[in-house]
C-alpha cells in the first residue's frame, strides 16, 4: 500500500485516489475557429514523461481535485498542492 497526501485530508491510502490528467493542459478556445490538428493535440497528445511529473488527481472520498507531483519511475511523492483558491 502506498500513502498519498491529500492537501485537505492528509495522508490516505492510494485506493482512495484517482489519476485524472496531466497538469497544465489548456483547453483551446472553442468559440474561435480551431483546426483538427490542434483539437487532436488537446484531446490526445500526452507528455507521458519518465521522471518527475505534475498531474491532476482526485481524492475520491472528499472529491477534491489537486496537483500531485511525483516520480513516475520510483513512485515517490514529491508534493501535493490544492487547486482550490482560499475561500477567504
Amino acid at each position: 500500500m502506498q500513502v498519498f497526501p491529500c492537501p485537505f485530508c492528509g495522508p490516505r491510502n492510494e485506493t482512495e485516489f484517482h489519476f485524472a490528467a496531466e497538469a497544465g493542459k489548456v483547453r483551446p478556445d472553442t468559440t474561435q475557429q480551431i483546426g483538427d490538428a490542434d483539437w487532436a493535440t488537446y484531446l490526445h497528445a500526452q507528455r507521458n514523461e519518465k521522471g518527475t511529473v505534475r498531474e491532476v488527481w482526485m481524492h475520491m472520498t472528499c472529491a477534491e481535485l489537486f496537483i500531485l507531483e511525483r516520480d513516475s519511475v520510483t513512485m515517490d511523492v514529491l508534493g501535493s498542492t490544492a487547486l482550490r483558491k482560499d475561500a477567504t
Binding site: T15, H18, Q46, K50
Partner: protein, 416 residues
C-alpha cells in the same frame, strides 16, 4: 551454424551438447545501415527478420539498450488471439495468428505455439447477449469462434467455479479455438537467430541517446556505441515510445501504465485452455511447466516503474480464487510488471512518426506479444517501401486527427 532438428538434438545429446554454436553474433556496429531498428524485443527483431525475408533488405541493425526480449517480450502472459470486434483489428491480429501458426517452421525455432483456445466467460444473461454479439462479429470478420453453453464450459474447464453460490455464476463463453499461448522468449530468440543468419546485426547493450537530423530528416542515431547512420529508422520500443518520441521531436497520444502478471508454483495439469473473466478482471492459463500464468487489468496510475501496486494484485488474485476456489492455497512463485503504451482507442500506432525518416510501431497496450509477427511484418513493409500495407493503413496516427478511431477498449474483456 546448422539448422535445428530432432537429429541435432539427438546428436548433441550423445556428445554432451558440445556442438551447439552461438545462436547469433555480437557484432560491432557499422557506420551505416540501410535500416536501423530501435528496440530488440519481439517487434523489433520480427521487423528485421521480415525485412530480410519479404523485402530482401539485409543491411539492417537492431539496436537494443538492454538485452534481447528483456522488456515486455519477456514480461507478458504469452496469450495469442484475434478475437476482436472491428474488421480492421481482426485483419491485423489474425495476420499475426496466421504467422504464428507457421512460425516454428519458418524460423527453424520452436516457439511452442499451443492453440488451446481462449474462452471469454459470460456471467449473466446480459453478458451472454454481448458475447453473442462478439461471436457474430468474429464470424463476420472470418475469425473462428464458437459460443459455448455453461455445460460445455464445464466439460472443458471443470476447475472453474460452477457452484450455485458462485459470486459470478458461469452462463457460457465465447471461445476462439485457434487462440492459445506461445513461448515468449523463444519468439524473441527465434526471430533474432533467423534475422542474424540472414545478415542482420543485433547490437545489444547499446542505447539510442539522440537522433541525427539533417534538413528536417532523421539520417541516423547517436548511441552509446557511437553514431550510426541509417537510410531509414524504425522504432519499436514498447514502454518507452514517448521517451524516444520526445528525443526525436514527434508527439504520441500514449500514456504508459504498469501491467502486472503472476505465475504460481508448478501444479499438475488442471487447465488446458486460456480462461478470461471480464467480471473478475482476471485471466489465467497453465504453462507447460505447470505454473498458472495469471494476468489482469492495468494499474490505473501512469508509470515507468516496472513493478506494480498492491491493490491491483489483490483484485486480480481475489478474482482468480473466486473463479477457481480450489486454488486458494496455491502459492505464487513470481510476480512482475511491465510498462505498456496505451493509446486512446486501445489500438496500436503503425506508420510514419511525424518526423521524416522515422517510422513507429507502438501503442499495443496490453496486447503486444500476440501481435509480434504482424507488427514486424507491417513495420518491415513500411520501412522497405515507405508506404502502408493495406492492413496497417487504419492504424496510422492520422486517425487521432480525423477521428476515425478503432476503439477496441472492450475487445479482450479486460479493460485496457
Amino acid at each position: 551454424m546448422g539448422a535445428y532438428s530432432a537429429w541435432s538434438v539427438f546428436r548433441e545429446g550423445l556428445r554432451g551438447g558440445t556442438g551447439w554454436k552461438q545462436a547469433w553474433r555480437t557484432p560491432t556496429p557499422k557506420k551505416h545501415y540501410d535500416v536501423v531498428i530501435i528496440g530488440g524485443g519481439g517487434h523489433g527483431l520480427a521487423t528485421a527478420y521480415y525485412l530480410t525475408k519479404n523485402h530482401n533488405i539485409t543491411n539492417v541493425a537492431v539496436i537494443e539498450k538492454g538485452w534481447l526480449g528483456g522488456g515486455n517480450t519477456g514480461r507478458n502472459t504469452t496469450v495469442i488471439r484475434s478475437n476482436y470486434f472491428y474488421p480492421e483489428s481482426a485483419a491485423l491480429y489474425d495476420l499475426s495468428v496466421r504467422l504464428y501458426e507457421g512460425l516454428s517452421r519458418d524460423l527453424n525455432y520452436n516457439v511452442m505455439f499451443s492453440q488451446r483456445g481462449i474462452a471469454l466467460l459470460g456471467h449473466s444473461e446480459h453478458d451472454m447477449e454481448i458475447l453473442t454479439r462478439q461471436y457474430n462479429a468474429m464470424r463476420l470478420n472470418g475469425i473462428d469462434a464458437e459460443l459455448l453453453s455453461a455445460k460445455q464450459v464445464q466439460e472443458r474447464a471443470p476447475i472453474l467455479n460452477f457452484s450455485e453460490n458462485a459470486r459470478h455464476p458461469i452462463h457460457g463463453a465465447v471461445n476462439q479455438p485457434r487462440a492459445g499461448t506461445g513461448r515468449h522468449d523463444a519468439v524473441a530468440w527465434g526471430f533474432a537467430r533467423a534475422a542474424d543468419r540472414a545478415g542482420v546485426d543485433i547490437i545489444q547493450n547499446c542505447e539510442v541517446q539522440d537522433f541525427i537530423m539533417e534538413g528536417g530528416r532523421c539520417i541516423g542515431v547517436a548511441t552509446s556505441k557511437g553514431d550510426i547512420k541509417a537510410g531509414v529508422v524504425g522504432a519499436a520500443v514498447a514502454g518507452h515510445s514517448s521517451v524516444l518520441a520526445a528525443k526525436a521531436g514527434y508527439d504520441l497520444p500514449i500514456t504508459s501504465y504498469c501491467l502486472q502478471a503472476f505465475v504460481s508454483e508448478p501444479l499438475k495439469p488442471i487447465l488446458d485452455t486460456v480462461v478470461t473473466s471480464p467480471a473478475f478482471g482476471t485471466y489465467v492459463s497453465q504453462s507447460d511447466k505447470g505454473g498458472l500464468v495469471i494476468g489482469g487489468g492495468l494499474d490505473r496510475v501512469p508509470s515507468y516503474g516496472q513493478r506494480g501496486n498492491m491493490p491491483v494484485q489483490e483484485t486480480v488474485l481475489a478474482g482468480l480464487v473466486e473463479m477457481m476456489p480450489a486454488l486458494a492455497k496455491v502459492k505464487l512463485l513470481r510476480h512482475w510488471g511491465g510498462i505498456v503504451d496505451v493509446t486512446p482507442d486501445s489500438s496500436p500506432i503503425i506508420g510514419p512518426s511525424g518526423v521524416d525518416g522515422i517510422f513507429v510501431n507502438c501503442g499495443w497496450g496490453t496486447g503486444g506479444f500476440k501481435a509480434i509477427p504482424a507488427g514486424g511484418y507491417l513495420l518491415a513493409h513500411l520501412l522497405a517501401t515507405g508506404e502502408h500495407h493495406e492492413i496497417s493503413k487504419p492504424f496510422d496516427r492520422s486517425r487521432f486527427e480525423t477521428g476515425r478511431l478503432v476503439d477496441e477498449s472492450a475487445a479482450s474483456g479486460i479493460p485496457h
